[in-house]
Amino acid sequence: MNRGKNICKVLKDVRRKVARENDIPLEIPECTFDGECRGTCPRCEAEVRYLEQELRRRKTLGKAVTIAGIALSSMVAAGCSPKQTPGEPILPQNTPVEETAVAKTDTVPNDTLPKKEEPDEVQYNGGIEVLLGFFVDPSEPADAGKKDSIPYTNFSFGGIDEEVGPDTAAFKNTIEMIDEPSDEWDK
């Protein structure tokens, strides 16, 4: 399975979990695209917009909304367990230095972080409230996400334990461009 398909599989699982935990009907058909992809597509993006819209609706109706951390198991299933060491160990097992697993990072207590800025007008300041405020109008169609095309650069950086660039004296280009830069860049 190519990298894009792997990413898509993980993100799809996250969407399913969010939908299930919040009683949101969401049927995700099997993707029939055969080839390299980025791990997302207009349909995937529209599903996210739909979920956001439904979460907002439930919040408006006074129902509980569950998002934070509900898809941590998706990360474990994807082989990204917080207890796994990302790099390949190079030291033999009998050395006195032990390979230390990357322990899960505790969330920084809120009181150690700067408080959210109180805006003069409505802004998106992060967190559940912001997520709900970010939603499209519930009366808009489910594919409204298609018009929310925010340009972004899709560089392919190597993973931190993957291949590095060659000697810079003979360097050509170690950054694989998946997409050509968008004209939106210049705005």
């Binding site: 996250v14 994807a78 990302p86 899960k104 700067p114 959210k116 650069t153 060659p166 950054i175």
Partner: protein
Amino acid sequence: MAAPFIGVARHRIGIDGDGVTTLAAFHGCPLHCRYCLNPSCLGPSETCRTLTPEQLYQEVLIDQLYFLATGGGVCFGGGEPLLRPEFIRRFRELCGPDWQLTVETSLNVPAENLETVIPAVNVYIVDIKDLDNSVYQSYTGKSNEQVWTNLQHLLQAVGSDRIVVRLPLIPEYNTEEAVKQSAVRLREAGFTRIDCFQYKLLK
């Protein structure tokens, strides 16, 4: 407070910390590593995207659902993200406390830069190359004296759980034994999350 970026990459999984993350890579770096993964960070900045913290926040907001559901967020890399401490501090004000903010840094920056971001960043991924200054200087073109100073200060400020120290085996520069000695020294200093790995040169 705009800054040049060499790229913003979505949907990174298991590479830049926990959960689904978006990597925001700054242009500019104080080092000149021979096997730099992103050498465009040292090239001309005129071709880079320039974003304010507000613009970057609006751009990455598209993946907030994934950030919250998976404990992910934004990873600042580059280049050297700690050359833009005020940008990161401002970004934290915008995104609030629920997003995980990570920096991938060499820590070879002025102490005041690190001090600025400490209240804003959750996890620090530090590639220290090698603790031996002669090896470090040969590979990067700069002394590592400030790195060790910053590492010790960071350990005292945030604790070992929030610091991942990456120790690479760099072909033609260090050896397995040297990496092992560096790891021992770091363990003795109190660091608990040490990632030993190997650079693999592209053919």
